[in-house]
């Protein structure tokens, strides 16, 4: 790879201060450090550093998201062909889904990275890798039929007002991807929930054209629960019943990346063994959610309250949120105890919104954003408790006769 290194060294002066392309210095640096590990050596402090850095961390999260993304593409195609009652084979199904999802990914990255780059150049620092993950999370948590201009607008809003104004990656209070979704959710509610947004029924560039079946209804399982007035049996878009395995593998309509619990599980395993996601958060989200559902089951006065815990956690974005959103280290508490409290509360509130508010079939986004706001407060009290314990220790030792006796025992 010497030729590449030589080439970079040759063009580097143009991008440095005073050079012809100095306005693109951040971009150049981003590409350079992507291609080659920077060989800057330690000037103070420890002389060796572990080879994991922020790029590595973000890349692992991207890899963890891959199964969800690939399955999400397939499922987009699968739901489409189900709606027009065709079965064109695995490849065509995937290609359709790929063509449907790709533009969202492109728009999200172009808008978000564009803003990041501009800010990095403006402030004169390196590009921060945070958006690499956010940029892929956004396509995975929106309905497939969200118009691209809305995605662009929402992404720009979230990156600027939920991240950059706070100082960039590492300083934001709310999860940026979820702020994007929340922006869409409140600004364009008709495009973010209901029966017409989670399954794309039109063809793309002539692929997958066909008449939509008469029996078709694009309601997601959670949408069906929300609308149900008596007892519920969840069905797919054509009215056939679905079983737990369909929910687990993910052959149901929903936001692009959230449907397959199997793929989420794969991602979770990778995040846990690399230590990037904290198991305490994930565990307590599920614990909080399941306990809340058990409580509702015990009351059981509405149809939504009768859904059992297993079904509830297999539905909607609960698992996806628990694994990829609640564990965001920047917006969740930084103390271990705080993580339990945060996770538990996310689980409880998500299920409460789901079950008690028929207007919002899914509560995960609101619940996580809500708890994000409380993160500093949770940390504050955990740290205060730690300080109190330390002070008690010092008082005990200072004012206790044991201390003076200790010297001679």
């Amino acid at each position: 790879m010497d030729f590449l290194r030589n080439y970079l060294d040759k063009i580097k002066p143009h991008f440095e201060a005073g050079g012809r392309f100095s306005m693109f210095q951040s971009l150049f640096e981003g590409i350079e450090t992507f291609l080659f590990v920077p060989n800057k050596t330690a000037q103070s402090g420890v002389h060796i550093h572990k080879s994991i850095d922020s790029k590595w961390t973000m890349s692992i999260v991207l890899v963890a998201l891959l199964p969800c993304l690939l399955f999400g593409m397939f499922n987009t195609g699968y739901q489409h062909y189900l709606s027009i009652q065709e079965s064109p084979g695995f490849l065509m199904t995937f290609i359709y889904g790929f063509l449907a999802v790709l533009p969202i990914i492109v728009v999200s990255y172009v808008v978000g990275l564009g803003i990041e780059l501009a800010v990095a150049q403006w402030k004169g620092h390196e590009i921060q890798e945070g958006f690499l993950v956010t940029g892929l999370l956004i396509p995975l948590i929106v309905p497939i039929d969200t118009p691209l201009w809305m995605i662009a607008l929402a992404t720009a809003f979230a990156v600027i007002f939920a991240k950059e104004v706070f100082g960039g990656t590492g300083y934001n209070i709310w999860n940026v991807a979820l702020v994007t979704r929340a922006f869409l959710f409140f600004a364009y509610p008709s495009k973010m929930s209901g029966d017409h947004v989670f399954v794309r029924t039109e063809g793309i560039w002539g692929i997958g054209k066909g008449a939509v079946a008469d029996a078709f209804s694009g309601a997601t399982p959670l949408g069906q629960i929300g609308q149900a007035s008596t007892s519920i049996s969840i069905t797919d878009t054509l009215g056939n019943p679905v079983n737990y395995w369909d929910l687990f593998w993910g052959f149901i309509p929903g936001s692009v990346g959230e449907t397959s619990k199997f793929c989420i599980l794969l991602g979770a395993i990778l995040l846990l063994i690399t230590g990037i996601a904290n198991w305490r958060t994930i565990l307590s989200v599920f614990a909080g959610g399941i306990l809340t559902i058990l409580l509702f089951n015990a009351i059981g006065s509405t149809p939504a309250m009768q859904i059992n815990p297993l079904e509830q956690i297999l539905l909607g974005g609960f698992a996806f949120g628990a694994v990829f959103m609640a564990t965001d280290p920047v917006t969740s508490p930084r103390t271990q105890t705080g993580k339990y409290i945060f996770g538990g509360a996310v689980g409880v509130f998500a299920m409460m919104v789901r079950v008690l508010n028929p207007g919002y079939p899914e509560g995960m986004m609101l619940s996580i954003l809500f708890m994000n706001s409380f993160t500093p407060l949770i940390d504050y009290y955990v740290v205060e408790a730690h300080i109190k314990r330390r002070q008690r220790r010092s008082k005990n030792i200072l004012f206790s006769p044991v201390h003076s006796a200790f010297g001679s025992n």
């Binding site: 800057k40 050596t41 002389h47 994991i52 590595w56 300083y171 230590g275 730690h386």
Partner: protein
Amino acid sequence: MKFITLLYDNNPLDINMDQAIKIKKGLDIHLAGKPEETTKSTIVSPYYTVFPDDFSGFVPKVMVKAGEEVAAGTPLMYDKNHPSIQVVSPVSGKVATIERGEKRKLQSIVIQAEKTNRYLFFGKKNLKSLSPETIKESLAQAGILAFIRQRPYDCIVCPEDTPRDIFVSGFFSAPLAPNVEYIIRGREADFQTGLNALAAITSGKVYLSIRPDCKMQALKNAENVQIVSFEGPHPAGNASVQISHIQPVNKDEVVWTVNPQDVLLIGCFFRLGIVDMTRLVALVGSEVNETDRAYYPMIIGAGIQNLVKCSVTECIDLRYISGNVLTGTHIGANGSLHAGDNQITVIPEGDEVNDFLGWMKPDWIVNGINRWINPSRERTEYAPDARLKGGERAMIMSNEWDRVFPMDILPEFLIRAILGGDTEKMEKLGIYEVAPEDFALCEYIDTSKMELQKIVRQGLDQLKMDNRK
């Protein structure tokens, strides 16, 4: 009595000193280049350098002029805040240069050595007949008190203080650190005399920590001390970790910590009446030729040219470190052994390496997975270079540092308090218990590549200044 004990929570006094204290959090970094347990010829150097910065908190006032003749033990400078604390010349000879940097800050004093070392004779002393004040006074006069550190602030001690306890770590756990048992072998009498002197100074106890598998009688059965054994990975050998597990430092308490090589220095001083700064130094690191990885007797301040000549890898840029890779000082090939260091480490600098898409390489993923399977240990020996391997970022990952920080302190919040300059918070979060070296492992594993030891040092200095006012 029992009732009072019940009031304690996590009472450190409850520990059973006969059982080993287990340190669970931490990380043993297995670097290539361990030393053989053999002693090679003494390293002599034409010049010896004394660095005032080695004595943290020491504000130097020079007492000699260039060209002046000195003996080993002649004072070179004293501390402006505590004039009785002096730093003395390690060898006899002539003061060659007094180097000053910006704002005339004293950088170093270089001594041109004579062929044979002439020692200033302080007189042999019988410890039993001396009061604690006299012991401290004579140690200060001989320039040895400057080698002792105190908590809080991890700085030189104040001679007027009577330390609550004194802590001597009888083993090193840092990467490639020398074996204390090997260093003490043959100098058992000096070691015990040194411990006796320390025991006479403190109002409490002298705690000597050892590994449970320690075989050496001089350590395991040392007299006048409380032996505590520690199991577990680095930083089990750090004084702060040991103190926090034995009896933590609270506000307004002062404890002292002494390096085992300095215990030998103290012992030798009382037994022979001279200041002999010769110590066994391990030459280690992946870039040292295998046959040369051994122990060398050296005097503090000695130039390392004769040590590393013909014994290191050629043709690549090297980094010479006085001390270990975590806390040592970056010295060049012409550098000198700093006070308080027991090893010279040589590793590749790495500035010539071009790692294409390095952050995607599988061994980096394996690194991450390894951490999960066996958090306290990396599997294989490896030979890292000095690259940062990433850019500096904001604190993103949480609880990363907790895994290698075995004290009842929230490292991340302490660092935040220091960065915010919030002295009250720093005190509450336990800054009095820590030294910069305790954050070295955090700095090593940190994905956001922050300079934590530097931050902690700044925090300690700021606090010391505020409290003096």
